[in-house]
Symmetry: C2
Subunit: 445 residues, 2 copies
């Protein structure tokens, strides 16, 4: 797999006319700053594209990855040629294969790939990306760098995820859209990402599995080293109708997936928003060793909603010990709550957040800091105080700074300290519960 | 209640020094463009604030609303004076009353208010806003205009909601933080908003009710005219511990709330994100008359997740009739799915979205349009096509344009046609289910 993501030179076979697929891929590769050679190849276009010469012929060029986005009918002949030339890795973006009933076309490219021992990603996919060497062989929005490898069966969903991620400032190590999975699929990719140093978390969108048992074995093995977060779509009868995984005997199938995923240690999520939330946290905190959660805040309402959710999810909002309570009493003005949630009220200044967080940490397994500024407060001071706390305590801290432009800068400060910030305390709660359950399963293995 | 929101002149009693509460309120009032007179009143400050004269004394001034943010100990004497002067409406922002155990202080202001027949909002609140006349008697971010009246017990939660709303471009008719509820509470406000022409939806954040039965009666009555969306926080034992509603006998209490809310026709939501989602839809679509939902899309994955969620929530993703299927076959290229979800694949251009949406509408009760552009597609054309469809069909359309900056302009176009746009199809599904259930209840009354 590694050769797909670290080619020394890449050839792109596609129309290079403005607005066409090839043009957009070259744009992404050039603007993204790919650290290897790029060969735009098109018989019709000629001239230059993003200051790169467009080659009508490729026989004299050396490249170890070919990206193909030409019409389906020309692909078998091109693949034969690339096979003879010894090009080892191919990504076929073009659609028009099994997804529209053209199974023979897909079988044909499979056969050619097998004959020449080429590995193929696609067809009908959105390409691949690697943020380490700025490889962006896709027309989609370029991924920002980060610790999550994202594998998707649906190309359009992949594009949507990249756009949402950009908005959330969420980064990826690698991005792979495998489309119709004529060769490379999620099993090969999970196996590879298990040992990819840039990848801390593996995230997956799948509609159907081809080799269920093998997948679960691989996920079970990889999951011991790195968390795997998965969306399995096509649960409902309408959803299955719309996916290629439709097999005819589907009753209860989703429950089987659910049990199998659980067994293999896969963290199943409902949709992309939960996926982002969970992956963001797992990048910083792969484990939460217990269920005692503290909430510290300057704001009653949001904290109440957070503890409501925590308790609903089975976590323990335990009260401080007597000794801790005594310590807090000395630390804080009268009227300030000495229980969990720790509501500092108007005394929620940086110094109090720092002192109280540090004091309570030894009695808890994770901490949620909820902060609501008024329009003239400097939230970055609170963020820095929490960053300092993080360096001095042993448990994970999650943040919920509310909201919008007033906390944008503070959110960046939190991020720089490795504290994930969420839009609500309830989101923190959901993430904490998932990581805690996952940790318990790992510890019992 | 109306006098609170439509005063001809407002006096603000607070410190007018830069960064202090009075200064920030005057800033909001002036920058917000209040359409009445504003009197900053402070014995210590003097001079001018935002080009308004600061008055040390107020005996010669005429005003019908007083906003008070001076220290607690000076408030009873000021209230007595205002009572004698005949000022009818008071908002007390200052904290330091029952929320910190000072029940006598709160009783004192209650007594004075009763004596002079003044109505009081607060104390310990974040003020009130009216976007019709630009009344912003608060230090919080100014509300944008819109059709939702928001009533909150927690001032900090109110501030957070305003900040989140600004980010989401979500508007309010009125905003009220009632704090400790020494006089005016949610019942008075719901009653007033029932007949406020600017308010289409009433949204509520409450931790505890004082007069439960009266509240439910009022909500039941108002709910027949306008939807009421409510967050009831403090469900958990830790949450109740943190709220003033802690009564000692709490087991099962939340279930009672749930049943009572249901009985009164209140749409209960879990948190602020769901509240925004639901209120946004209710502003455009107060009713959904049946459970047959169609999904139209250019993008498989997101549509599959949407129908998964719709079906999980008990909605009916029914297939088209034979006749409709024949019509669609004539309309669309081969390979395009003729079932629900209607996946237009690469044929998802504006004209196809328009034609197919219009053709299928008569067989459904609501429509979700899911669109994922690639980086060089113009999403606004699809948005306009859907806007045109909306004007020509009778059922609600919901949109899920994914995502981020690539659909920002399109989202504004959708909004201009009155089509609510959500970040995921699952969010559309949740909103549709809630409105459908609410409509069924109303129709059965």
């Amino acid at each position: 797999m590694k050769k797909f993501f670290y080619p020394s030179s890449v050839a792109i076979f596609a129309s290079m006319k403005e607005g066409k697929t090839g043009y957009e891929i070259i744009k992404n590769m050039v603007e993204g700053g790919f650290k290897g050679k790029i060969y735009p190849i098109s018989q019709s276009s000629g001239g230059k594209v993003f200051q790169l010469e467009v080659y009508p012929d490729y026989q004299d060029l050396e490249f170890d990855l070919a990206i193909i986005a030409i019409p389906e009918k020309f692909i078998p002949a091109l693949l034969e040629d690339l096979g003879k030339k010894g090009v080892p890795r191919i990504v076929i973006i073009s659609a028009g294969f099994s997804e529209v009933g053209n199974r023979e076309g897909e079988e044909a490219i499979k056969d050619i790939a097998r004959k020449y021992r080429m590995r193929v990603i696609g067809p009908n996919c959105a390409g691949i990306m690697n943020t380490e060497n700025n490889l962006f062989t896709s027309i989609e929005v370029r991924a920002l760098p980060g610790g999550t490898a994202f594998i998707t069966q649906s190309g359009a969903l992949g594009g949507a995820v990249l756009m949402m991620a950009e908005e959330l400032n969420f980064g990826f190590s690698k991005f792979v859209s495998f489309g119709n999975r004529c060769d490379v699929g999620e099993i090969d990719l999970i196996e590879y990402f298990e040992n990819d140093p840039q990848t801390k978390v593996i995230a997956l969108y799948i509609e159907g599995l081809v080799e269920g048992r093998k997948f679960l074995l691989q996920a079970g093995k990889t999951g011991l080293k790195k968390p795997i977060v998965a969306i399995k779509a096509g649960k409902s009868s309408a959803g299955m109708r719309a996916t290629s995984s439709h097999t005819g005997s589907l009753a209860g199938e989703d429950k089987i997936y659910d049990a199998a995923f659980h067994q293999a240690g896969i963290l199943r999520v409902e949709g992309v928003e939960e996926m982002f939330d969970l992956c963001r946290a797992l990048n910083y905190y792969p484990k939460i060793e217990g269920n005692r959660i503290a909430v510290i805040t300057n704001s009653g309402g949001p904290a109440v909603m957070a503890v409501d959710k925590l308790e609903e999810l089975g976590l323990n909002i335990c009260e401080p010990s007597k000794i801790l309570k005594e310590r807090l009493k000395e630390m804080l003005p009268p009227h300030v709550s000495l229980g969990n949630p720790y509501d500092l009220l108007a005394y929620g200044e940086a110094e109090n957040f720092y002192q109280v967080s540090k004091a309570i940490a030894p009695e808890y397994d994770a901490l949620i800091a909820i902060f609501v500024p008024t329009s003239f407060m400097d939230s970055t001071k609170i963020a820095s105080a929490l960053g300092k706390v993080k360096q001095e305590i042993k448990i994970p801290i999650f943040a919920n700074f509310m909201a919008g432009r007033l906390v944008k800068e503070a959110a960046a400060v939190l991020e720089s300290y490795g504290i994930p910030n969420y839009s609500t305390g309830e989101r923190c709660a959901r993430v904490i519960q998932k990581i805690y359950k996952y940790t318990m399963r790992l510890n019992n293995k």
